[in-house]
Amino acid sequence: MDSVDIVLCGLGGQGILFMTRVIAQAALDKGLNIMGAETHGMAQRGGSVVSHLRLGQAQGSLVRTGSAHFLLGLDENEAYRNLPFLAKGASMYVNADPKNFPRQEVRDFLAKRNVTYHAIPAGNIAMALSAPQSSNLALLGYFSAFSEGPVSKGEFVATIERLSPERYREKNLEIFEAGLSRGLEEKGA
């Protein structure tokens, strides 16, 4: 099937669902079909939260192991936990300390599969902008800097503007921009 498959993961309360919504809405606005799967109920209470998103032609809502093109992780360990979903040549973007990411044991695995990885201290960036719960937007901004996937930076910005509740709108965009400039710096370097 012809779809771009994305796995988004982290912990309950980190805003995985909002991040998923932004990507999905932006993709729909470009005319892509959307299929996705979310975690609700007991699993949300402090546990691992995973969201699958398939943009394009897909029947099922779950991404198959070995076929995700992108992995966006708001927690380093949760990103590792979802490694089996990565396809060969995939990219991963993780909220982690760039100096120590990824763990040594994981490096060979990623190299063998041609997986490129990028780490951003999204939690610290959000914290510095006094919105500790918004690491999701920092990570999304960072991801958008690398122009991978079907949605452009500008389209993300427009969608965040539209979907954010009014009182968080400005803050959300500020944090997205902070993640974006971090990514652009890295890309330029």
């Binding site: 099937m1 959307i34 109920g41 007991m42 949300q44 029947q59 099922g60 192991t65 590792y80």
Partner: protein, 621 residues
């Protein structure tokens, strides 16, 4: 054209309003909980007058919808699969009585299980009750099947079940809106006691009627090619065919297409597993040497296929008998079957990542109560005051009190109370006075607590019942409870006093405490303990009342307390073992406990629990 990315439950809600469903009732339960709120959203945006209610339990929801149906209106009740157990009495009986306006029972399954006590298969409940069941593969199909179900129900005058599984309910898909119009039908009740109040003699006649209806519906399903179809090429025979339906259908189609095997392995999709489209299935099976059945979560289709020699599935050991059929599992099933039949296998799934994970020692993340959760404070006090008690508990967030050693049992909705009285009598018979503390949430108490409490009091049981009143139905997404006086559409309802309901069950000891004050909570438990063993004592009820932090973000903690861990901490781990707040963690660098500010709720309860007094409040000023 209006197009939105809807949750499967939103697509179902859209189907309901598009089909002119005038009454929608529900009791929340994962994965069905969002259907009713989505109906409310559409009713408001489209200015409809659909009647919606959060019913006190699933049986209540069912009966309310049933009554509306027999006045000629289209009605639906929504619940999770185990909720249908609660409504089973109504389901079985209503199958005989029939429907007038379309009656749709939406019962959401939870293969996995992700948030349920069982993996039971609603299709079997429908088969048991002898009512038609529709099994959608994705949100769009679920939305269409809502309308289909209501039409069939109306045409054949029989209740119809829609079984969306969790990957339909909690899938998201872009859905284009259709026309939504207000249904102007008015209620008319035609008295017919031989039907609506049928005695056993008439029940036999009604049973015969139901059987005839099923034959006719079965005929209709044979030709329902939008939902029951296969892709056999005429005159071709195949070594293997796949029979599937619901969510596994979508998974199978994706895999076959990705692997370029769509043309050599035909698929029969069954969207209406009961009454079973037998002729269509026979046609498919006769063109294949073997057929593999891939269905969730039990073996309904597998039982219904007649040529037993050809059938592979759970009974032949090819399909796991428990757990969700996620794409990776289905891929493995297909490969095992292909190899067993000497056919070309699919690309092997790479297991290296799974092997790697085993070596990484990733933290085990069990679900926990949120930081600041009032249940945690209540459980801490309960365990501290009655360490040797049997702790019966119930269904809700607070089942997670198991992490604090304050939950020993969880059977089903309401069983905290009924099992407490059961334990009491079992031990009392031996002359043993066993301490028992039951915990139940406010919504669960209203759902099925009162009958058990009344029974316990009447039959002289003695135990402490703590009603964990967080003023919401937290686990399923913050639906209002009867004690709030807020109805499903946000309008005002009559608030039911929990205290009065408890007193009405005959309870003489009722204390209301804020569990954030551990000392007061402890004192209340001590007082209750005394009452339970007094000659005139009985069931003592403590209402542990503090708002849920998620539902009442701004009000739940009126005085935020900044806390820190001082150097007095001896790293004894007591706070982590007994209090288990996710914000408390062992800091490797400091060699003691520390607080994770990113998730701390500033409730300040932990200041009261450290045996060394090492968790202290910081004076911000």
């Amino acid at each position: 054209m209006r197009e939105e990315i809807l949750l499967g439950n939103g697509a179902i809600a859209l189907g309901l309003v598009e089909a002119g469903c005038q009454v929608v009732t529900s009791y929340p339960g994962t994965p069905s909980s969002e259907i009713l709120p989505e109906v409310v959203r559409l009713v408001k945006s489209e200015k409809l007058d659909t009647y919606v209610e959060w019913s006190t339990n699933e049986k209540v929801a069912f009966d309310n919808a049933f009554a509306a149906s027999i006045t000629g209106k289209r009605a639906a009740c929504c619940m999770k699969q185990v909720g249908l157990n609660v409504a089973a009495d109504s389901l079985m009986s209503s199958a005989y009585l029939g429907a007038v306006g379309g009656l749709l029972i939406i019962s959401a399954d939870d293969p996995g299980p992700h948030s349920s006590q069982t993996e039971q298969d609603t299709r079997f409940m429908a088969r048991l009750a002898k009512v038609p069941v529709l099994d959608p593969s994705n949100p769009q199909e679920a939305r269409e099947m809502v309308g289909l179900g209501l039409e069939i129900s109306e045409e054949f005058r029989v209740p119809v079940v829609l079984r969306p599984a969790i990957r339909v309910c909690h899938a998201r898909q872009n859905i284009a809106f259709g026309k939504i119009e207000k249904n102007q039908s008015k209620s008319v009740f035609q008295k017919d006691p031989m039907r609506w109040a049928a005695t056993p003699r008439f029940r036999l006649i009604l049973h015969g009627e139901l059987n005839k209806k099923l034959d006719q519906i079965g005929e209709k399903f044979e030709g329902l090619s939008r939902y029951n179809f296969h892709n056999l090429q005429p005159g071709t025979s195949y070594p293997l065919g796949i029979v599937t339906g619901g969510v596994p259908y979508a998974v199978i189609v994706d895999i076959l297409s990705e692997e370029g095997r769509s043309s050599d392995i035909p698929v029969l999709k069954i969207g209406t597993p009961f009454p079973f489209p037998q002729k269509l299935a026979d046609e498919f099976v006769s063109a294949c040497e073997k057929v593999l059945v891939v269905e969730e979560t039990d073996t309904l289709i597998e039982y219904l296929l007649r040529d037993r020699h050809k059938v592979l599935g759970r009974l032949s050991g090819h399909v796991p008998k428990e757990g969700e059929l996620v794409p990776g599992v289905v891929h493995e099933i297909l490969n095992k079957v292909l190899r067993d039949l000497g056919m070309e296998a699919l690309q092997e799934d790479d297991t290296e990542a799974a092997e790697l994970l085993k070596t990484l020692n990733l933290p085990v993340r069990k679900p926990t109560l949120c930081p600041g959760c009032p249940h945690r404070a209540a459980f801490f006090a309960i365990r501290k005051t009655r360490p040797k008690a049997i702790f019966t508990s119930d269904i809700g967030c607070y089942t997670l009190g198991v992490n604090l050693g304050a939950v020993d049992t969880c059977l089903d909705m309401g069983a905290a109370i009924t099992m407490a009285s059961g334990f009491y009598h079992a031990f009392e018979q031996d002359g043993v006075e066993k301490p028992i503390v039951a915990t139940i949430g406010d919504s669960t108490f209203f759902h099925s607590g009162t009958a058990g409490l009344l029974n316990a009091v009447y039959n002289g049981a003695r135990f402490i019942l703590v009603i964990l009143d967080n003023l919401t139905t937290a686990m399923t997404g913050m639906q209002p409870t009867p004690s709030l006086g807020i109805r499903a559409d946000g309008s005002e309802g009559k608030a039911i006093s929990l205290e009065r309901a408890v007193a009405g069950c005959g309870v003489d000891f009722i204390e209301v405490v804020d569990p954030y004050n551990i000392k007061e909570m402890t004192q209340a438990i001590k007082k209750a303990t005394q009452y339970v063993s007094e000659p005139q004592g009985g069931v003592a009820v403590i209402i542990s009342r503090h708002p849920c932090l998620i539902a009442y973000r701004d009000e739940a903690i009126p005085e935020k307390k900044i806390v820190t861990v001082s150097d007095d901490c001896e790293d004894c781990n007591f706070c982590i073992d007994r209090f288990e707040c996710p914000a408390l963690y062992h800091d490797q660098e400091l060699g003691r406990i520390n607080i994770n500010r990113q998730i701390c709720s500033n409730c300040g309860v932990c200041v009261q629990i450290c045996p060394k007094g090492a968790i202290v409040e910081v004076d911000e000023s």
